[in-house]
Symmetry: C2
Subunit: 238 residues, 2 copies
């Protein structure tokens, strides 16, 4: 499964840790990062941290301004819309190329177990997000296009972060789980068009949640994506 070397380098640790904290909003949009500070937190040198930040910048989750600083990218509505577009395009195309005959029983079983896990009572948010991620990855794999997942996952990162802002909306997670099951059932029984309709509806439900929160709390979104931040010296109790 793993392509390339799977050695868990310190760079990878830093990358995954920072990424998770960005998407989980533990690192707020617009927050200042610092190679030095992060290196100290993780107990390693600047090099692997810096390399992780370069990857995150390439992914669009971090903005680096030379000689000024690195910052958690603010939630850019345009970028979120782009992510939604790419994700929808790829996942829909996956379902479109689906025919019942070629379904891999192992993958089907993995999807079943995933859905069962999603329906467990009292699921905490982080676990659900992990299962959600796995569900969509497996769904894409069902059509034999798992290789395109990394690109979708990158887009999904931007969407999930925006979604986290909206998650205080009182929509229970069970709604999403029901949608997941509906997509799965349609795909399983060869009704590709129905699966597509349900998937599109599902993805847009998520997207509309994001637009809701944007109306409610516009200050969390970037008004000008090209604005350049400035550093400020802040007095802190020593």
């Amino acid at each position: 499964m793993s392509r390339g070397p799977s050695q868990r380098s310190r760079r990878l640790e830093a990358y995954q840790a920072v990424r998770r904290r960005i998407i989980g909003l533990d690192l707020a949009p617009g927050a200042a990062l610092s190679e030095n500070e992060l290196a100290e937190q993780f107990g390693l040198s600047r090099t692997p941290v810096r390399e992780a930040l370069i990857l995150l910048a390439d992914e669009g989750l971090v903005q680096v301004f030379p000689k000024i600083g690195s910052f958690v990218a603010r939630v850019d509505p345009g970028r979120v819309a782009d992510a939604q577009f790419l994700r929808e395009a790829v996942e829909m195309a996956g379902l479109e190329s689906l025919t019942q005959s070629e379904l891999d029983p192992e993958q089907v079983e993995a999807l079943r177990q995933n859905l069962a896990a999603q329906e467990a009572p009292g699921l905490d948010l982080e676990t659900f997000f992990g299962l959600d991620e796995e569900f969509h990855r497996l769904l894409l794999a069902l059509s034999g296009h798992a290789g395109s997942w990394p690109a979708v996952a990158t887009a999904k990162g931007h969407l999930d972060r925006a979604r986290m802002l909206a998650l205080r909306s009182d929509r229970p997670l069970q709604v999403y789980v029901r949608e997941h099951r509906g997509i799965f059932e349609a795909a399983l029984t060869g009704r590709a068009e129905l699966a597509q309709d349900r998937l599109r509806s599902h993805l847009r439900t998520v997207f509309s949640d994001i637009e809701d929160i944007r109306r409610e709390r516009p200050e969390l979104f970037a008004s000008d994506p090209d604005a350049v931040p400035t550093r400020k010296t802040v007095a802190v109790w020593g």
Copy 2:
């Protein structure tokens, strides 16, 4: 247009230079890279070269094996197929969301000029590839989804490299240009479905070229994507 800082750092120089050489097959699939060697060639230190290689590895054009070496990724048919799938999904979705009313005159004009340049006689290959890239980027921008271009461009990189292997097939470039114009005309006149049909046909023409060369020269493709290379000491005239 540029998102983020546009300073042309040495890392970016190295990244672009190596990437171009990989896609242009100046660096053969499977060829050993070396941070030290590349750094010396470019006249800079290992650090920016290494950072460029990390990005290229993330993109799938380079494979890094710790303590062993870095290598130009071999042409993996599975990865090429994945790239084709993603590219087709996104570009087709772009055309699908096209309606004549919202076409930006500036972008239309840019496409016109691009096509005119493609039709210039005696075009060399590198120039054509640049124009081809710009054409597809503009086409995606026409539907307001230019933000998804980087993901498509990454996929296109893998396709272009495989295509370079096939380019000795005697298909004249004019065939591609005519297809481009056909797509453009259909999109311009609001016939989105026709544009989609033509785009799909166009993209698959390119893909079938790749499959042709795979049949003819299978040794250029990776037989086992997970194989690990070993270093060899080679005697060289000093």
